[in-house]
Symmetry: C2
């Protein structure tokens, strides 16, 4: 492959060299048909970077993972679904004990284990299933990460994995990841659980710089429901087994790595938004012609976050006034009278607003365009050179059904 | 009545002396059974104060009303429903022409007319129905404001009127109002359409101070769906016909007037939130024990705005973790481990969280409490002396249904 190519490959969290994973049912959930515990293992201790939710209420596992990531290399990730281990007395000790169980079982230091939990807030986590499940996970470790991707799901309807291949100084590298998240997802923070692995060698500082930089344009530009979870994190491991020269500054290799990371993260964003709770449609909003990047981002996010835009998309109703309304309260600077809006999908495209006023568009054609399951909302602000993209989903009866009775 | 009493009385926008109103069907809407044009008339030109939406995309009528309110006294309010007169070329001229028609018909200056529109954004407004409807309205003017309250409704299911009586320096005064709004309602801005009338004499400066001050604690603390409309305003007219000494400073009379205004506005907030699009329940969130007023307000608003809290309330699911989660991303400073949460309704109360962890509450009892149609969410932050209240509603299947196809 060419030096600059970023090529899609099969797999996810085990696509890169030296990573193994497994997922099992261990009894945290009542539903025995849904796996609830995942393990990712790196044969070589990996440099790690992470971003965490900025919610003031934080899940107990985040503090433990942050301490371990800050202190040194990471060899394993343990993640349960079903119970969030948040807002419960003694949660931090439980998270530490989980790392100890994994460390003992795998023969690695407890401090080299990252821990994550997702599920109901405020219910106590029982360690007994871990004592049973972790040895099971060890026995099941393989180069196929798909069971792990299944085990971290909550209300997700599809498991989410993606991987790419690229070269750094002639060495073939891979970067892959898995994600979970369907509700309680909102931009401008680290959201959901995403575990990324690469065999590229990247210094800790540059790995964190790459992750923090990319998250601002990818996961933080996505929303399902405006609610920012307490337990979310994006964790990126780099074990260096590809044998490339370690990236230690912003050189060409770093830029290639950034493009690979961006490719994986955008693919995961689209999977997450498209599988938003109850969603029938992925919304992909592209705002161009803004005076600043911040204006473009604010407008794009406001549009995909608007309950009214989301409900209109569910109904395939070309109610573009709501797009302008959302832009108007989103905080971006623009002149309403120079805004154009186009709806586009596999069924074609229709310009519904030009210069801030409605066009004489065909309602029939618009209905057809908006009946697809992937809708692009293209907004031209008519000012400067900046653009931004944001991802969301429609608001449906099923979102209400799922969240009207999540705990039972 | 005692000097300090604020007494509820029947009526709304015509409860105070010298106000007449009417509502008719004039042909702006296709549905002939729904009135679509309202007129309020003050026999004496009234001092006026107003607050407007802070959405960058503003309905054309707002600019015209603002110019008229800023320039002098107001004698009439004309308001149509069905078409918002927003995002359409020539909208300002149409709004000015509407004022001219009303001025000619009533024999008052066009500049003494306030104009408002609500309905679909981006569809052109036709003036022909106004030429037919305004004379009809003049003929129908009466001391009963209920037709006007009906005519300004869009997706509202009930008309919203309230009035109170109080005394200023021994003179009996009244303050009443009507409101519309069901969707596209979000705090921290002037939201919805609210028309308030009083016969008290209040200087323009003090009237605006009273209104701006009160809106921060009432309408701006309410949300239906997080979407801030383009056309909203709160307009308060004071015609002085009660004969009290004009309020020109922050004296006892001003404080009494503020209490009257607050009483009316809170009643309208509760009506608006309880009749939110698709809503089955009014949510009333009271946060106490905050270190600052701003912290209390941020927490209360985040809770009533959370889609997940709203959906849980629809399902009568005591998922209190979502209350803490919303507080956590709402921007307020607090210590999660000193937070208590109580759900209360006519069916009783249940403490679900104490000191940031779940209590051993009865799920059955909680279900009963949350099955009422008015739910109080009481949050003790356990820090300082500040408190705040916010109003919202549940998120239901009907919200999605209504907004999936609003235009047809």
């Amino acid at each position: 492959m060419k030096e600059n190519d970023i090529k899609s490959v099969n797999g996810g969290v085990c696509a890169a060299k030296g990573y193994l994973a497994a997922g099992v049912y261990c009894g945290i959930r009542r539903n025995r048909t849904k796996k609830d515990l995942a393990l990712v293992y790196s044969e070589t201790p990996a440099t790690a970077a992470a971003v965490y939710t900025r919610n003031r209420v934080k899940g107990a596992p985040l503090a433990v993972t942050k301490a371990h990531v800050d202190a040194g290399k990471i060899s394993a990730i343990i993640c349960n679904s079903g119970i969030a281990n948040t807002c419960c007395a003694g949660g931090k000790e439980l998270a530490e004990e989980t790392c100890a169980i994994v460390g003992e079982t795998l023969g690695i230091p407890a401090e080299s284990v990252a821990v994550a939990s997702t599920g109901v807030i405020g219910q106590p986590l029982d360690l007994a299933p871990f004592r049973y499940g972790v040895p099971e996970l060890k026995a099941a470790l393989s180069r196929d990460g798909s069971d792990a991707a299944l085990a971290i799901m909550t209300t997700d309807t599809i498991s989410k994995q993606v991987a790419v291949e690229f070269t750094l100084g002639g060495k073939v590298c891979r970067l892959g990841g898995m994600a979970k998240g369907s509700g309680m997802i909102h931009p401008d923070m680290a959201t959901m659980l995403v575990f990324l692995t690469t065999d590229a060698a990247v210094s800790k500082e540059m790995l964190q710089r790459a992750l923090s930089g990319d998250v601002a344009d990818t996961f933080n530009m996505m929303s399902v429901d405006g609610d920012t979870s307490t337990n979310d994190m994006v964790l990126l491991l780099a074990n260096g087994m590809a044998g490339n020269e370690e990236i230690t500054c912003e050189n060409d290799d770093f830029r290639t790595f950034m493009r690979a990371l961006n490719t994986v993260n955008i693919a995961l964003c689209r999977m997450l938004a498209g599988d938003g709770e109850g969603a029938t449609k992925l919304l992909d909003c592209v705002v161009t012609g803004a005076d600043t990047l911040s204006d473009a981002k604010k407008a794009a996010k406001a549009i995909v976050c608007s309950s009214l835009v989301k409900a209109a998309m569910f109904g395939a109703d070309a109610n573009w006034g709501r797009v302008l309304c959302a832009m108007g309260y989103g905080g971006a600077a623009f002149d309403p009278e120079s805004v154009d809006v186009v709806f586009r999908s596999a069924a074609g495209e229709v310009e519904v607003c030009r210069g801030g006023s409605g066009t004489d568009f065909s309602e029939e054609k618009a209905k057809e365009v908006l009946s697809a399951n992937e809708i692009f909302i293209l907004v031209r602000m008519g000012k400067g050179e900046f653009s931004a993209e944001a991802w969301g989903c429609d608001l449906t009866y099923d979102y209400v059904r799922i969240n009207g009775d999540y705990r039972t």
